[in-house]
Symmetry: C2
């Protein structure tokens, strides 16, 4: 090889680099395309998320904050993250509420003395118990909190308020339909108590007709302790039956007994693992789900799926030999369901330590076939992400829309940061949400893995290119 050849080679290299940098600014470049393929292959051919979920769901089970199972889940996931050979794995202490359901609830509808039929209910999370002998009263059916004022104390006092507004079946986005009803569950007891109600029954937030009552969080606000009334959920079938029975006999009696109890806060943990960044070790990207769940099922969709997908993101990055520029953290948040203490704690500590977070991604909408991401970002950052759409379309990810992200990562939000949520197909999500049928068999391995792969692809692109805000701040 002579000098001329060397110069020619150098010239070619310069030209090539020029072209490469040109290509990199295009929507899809070959390297990214190949990386996406490698990620999906690893996820679908040798994924770990499903076996992790099997353990979390079937060996541990429902993971209510403060429960033994929640602590077992902390230990298990910490141990699994340690096996991945990450740069750091640790537990972040966080105090969480401890509410227990106690002995299973019992309820019946009594249409005449001695003539009654039992119905399945469950206490809402955070509800007080009924008296030891249970609670029996007449029922007043309403279609929402706004009906209380109209009825007035005269028609409510001493009665059980039955909130029966169903989720709207013709709303295509099921989360929107949920949003249109959940005030009944969250604030129904607090509001009914103001009119002298003695208890509350809430129609389950479920688009399907079945026999599962769905629990979920509720608040008493600043209602004094001795004025708090017990609140339960009734299944959609049960709600329809009760409503029909009331039409035939408006003074029927409803009996229920629940044995739930709130204890002092207890110690728990967020579980965190990190691959330290090769270029920007002090800039962080988070991917996570919440490790706690309700207690009726085993929390496979909500949110075991999101946890194991998030763990899988870090495993896949290592598997495909990608060395992130930023520090990538998986965070399994504790206590999303009834307190958001984990998410709040993580954000507080990040702020205290001055940890710069540029991106956070949460999966907390079930382990169904992923259809896209919802993005909480400024215009420039959002447009950058939309430009990557072509990289995701071969994997049937079509939807990249401005919107919410995830509850746990919300507290991290600051100007210029990008938050995002995985958006799986949600048509069946509320069939299982917070109910006894949210179990491992309701999750499909392949659909779960497709979600983990999509999340990994997104983290890869965000890490490689940075957010627009970040890039311009580095340039300055």
């Amino acid at each position: 090889m002579n000098k001329l050849m060397n110069l020619r080679t150098l010239f070619l290299i310069v030209i090539t680099l020029g072209i490469t940098s040109e290509i990199q600014s295009q929507k899809v470049n070959v390297e990214d395309s190949l990386m996406m393929r490698a990620i999906y292959d690893a996820a679908l051919l040798e994924g770990k998320s499903y076996s992790w979920l099997d353990y979390l769901s079937n060996e541990i089970g429902g993971r209510l904050s403060g429960s033994l199972q929640a602590e077992q889940a902390v230990s298990y996931t910490e141990a699994q993250l340690n096996e991945l050979g990450l740069d750091k794995v640790w537990l972040q202490p966080v105090m969480v509420p401890k509410w227990t359901r106690g002995v299973k609830e019992y309820a019946f509808i009594e249409t005449a003395p001695g003539i009654s039929s039992t119905t399945d209910i469950c206490a809402l999370g955070g509800s007080v118990a009924t008296p030891d002998s249970g609670l029996k009263a007449e029922v007043v059916e309403v279609s929402g909190i706004e009906d209380l004022e109209r009825l007035g104390r005269a028609k409510i006092e001493g009665k059980i308020v039955f909130y029966n507004r169903p989720m709207k079946a013709n709303v295509i986005n099921t989360f929107e339909a949920y949003g249109g009803c959940v005030d009944q569950r969250y604030a129904g007891a607090m509001e009914a108590a103001k009119f002298g109600a003695v208890g509350v029954i809430v129609r389950s937030m479920n688009l399907r007709q079945d026999d599962f009552p769905h629990t979920g969080s509720m608040t008493y606000g600043d209602t004094p302790v001795n004025e708090r009334i017990p609140a339960c959920a009734i299944s959609t079938n049960g709600a329809d039956y009760l409503s029909s029975a009331l039409k035939l006999k408006s003074d029927l009696l409803f009996y229920f007994k629940q044995n739930c109890k709130t204890y002092d806060d207890v110690q728990s943990y967020n579980v965190i693992g990190e691959i330290t960044g090769s270029v920007y070790p002090k800039r962080y990207m988070v991917v996570g789900g919440h490790l706690d769940s309700w207690d009726l099922g085993d929390g496979s969709h909500d949110d075991g799926a999101g946890c194991v997908q998030s763990m899988e993101v870090l495993r896949l990055l290592k598997k495909v030999n990608y060395k992130p520029k930023h520090s990538i953290r998986v965070v399994l948040f504790m206590n999303e369901e009834n307190g958001l203490r984990g998410g709040t704690k993580y954000a507080e500590e990040a702020k205290l330590k001055g940890e710069k977070h540029v991106f956070a991604l949460e999966s907390d909408a079930g382990g169904f076939t992923p259809r896209g991401f919802s993005i909480d970002a400024n215009k420039a950052n959002f447009e950058q992400i939309v430009n990557w759409k072509a990289l995701f379309e071969p994997y049937l990810m079509h939807s990249f829309e401005l919107g919410g992200s995830g509850a746990d990562i919300g507290p991290l939000k600051e100007e210029g940061m990008v938050l995002a949520g995985l958006r799986p197909d949600s048509q069946r999500y509320f069939d299982y949400h917070h109910a006894a049928n949210d179990t491992f068999d309701a999750v499909n391995k392949r659909e779960l893995e497709l979600g983990a792969a999509a999340m990994t692809g997104f983290i890869y692109l965000m890490d490689k290119y940075g957010t627009k805000t970040e890039v311009s701040s580095i340039k300055k």
Copy 2:
């Protein structure tokens, strides 16, 4: 009102009409948008498809061509269509093959004399029976038909060929993964017989590990009757077990007995209903699915779902008070699974009668959340359809791609005609396809209804605007 006003009014009307016609040529017009909304509301708030499917699946069950259940399904759907007040409902006679499974199959793997374990199998559709005493032989595992030549007669003669190439998990489109394996099922026995094999076992076309054997059609081609060898499917778990056992003991014996039989063809029917067109009564648009199914499950996804969705299209058009310009037919095709006689017959008769078909839409990919349509059309017709995409996107229908349509409507194809297939999420489809777990409980009401609504919207737009080919032929 004076004359000037009248003229002014007339002028305004002319202007308005001009604007309206301008708007109509745009991607989305308000009228179409409102009609889509009305269709979805009717489908989701007062749909009939799910209760029809309940009857077909739970009261009738699997509907193998030539079976009593297939004939019950003909009577039931004819009666239901009659109740819709269509302009015409009739049965189109078609001769269909009659193959019966007989007494349930039985199989075991014998690793040593007296040491055996049973395994679940099912006869492939159209297979011959084993001898009355069953068939016991050594097994040679291959990963496809192409391996037979390499092994040669010496290693195959007198043995059972075990086709064990799995569906590729990293292929995102599951139908493509199916296409990459199904030759083993369809032609495996015919090809193995050429090398002296005495029987065939085929790994089920299933992306999931479970214990369900999946049946499906097969051919003997022109193999003489006395040289035809029995063929069965084994579950994915069973296939992995057999493969492992062969690694430990290559001369193990496989025993199976199946009792299937092929009879002479019998009379059956396509079920057809029609709303006669108000403008072009002699131009036809077809929407359909196939009424027959395999016999192991109740054929809810394949293709009870497509049948009830197609029936629902005509019901919804009436419900929203839309009067089609073209004659819209629902066709429930008989015998898609093992003969395609219904689809062939319908096309033959249409041709004989000179019935001009401009559009046909089939739903035969399961009752899952719809994600789009695949379109078989020329460029102009395809582009017209893609322009309607914005009308579907609020309903999470993103995918409009050139590709196949449906087996039953394929024979109708002619130049300038548009064929299309509903494309639901397919990630779980092959978990159920042709297996005993393809049952009613695997179909979600809401997902089924979303498919019916999408199909109705598509038929509405095609009817209202016509295909580009049709419009230009009318203009001429």
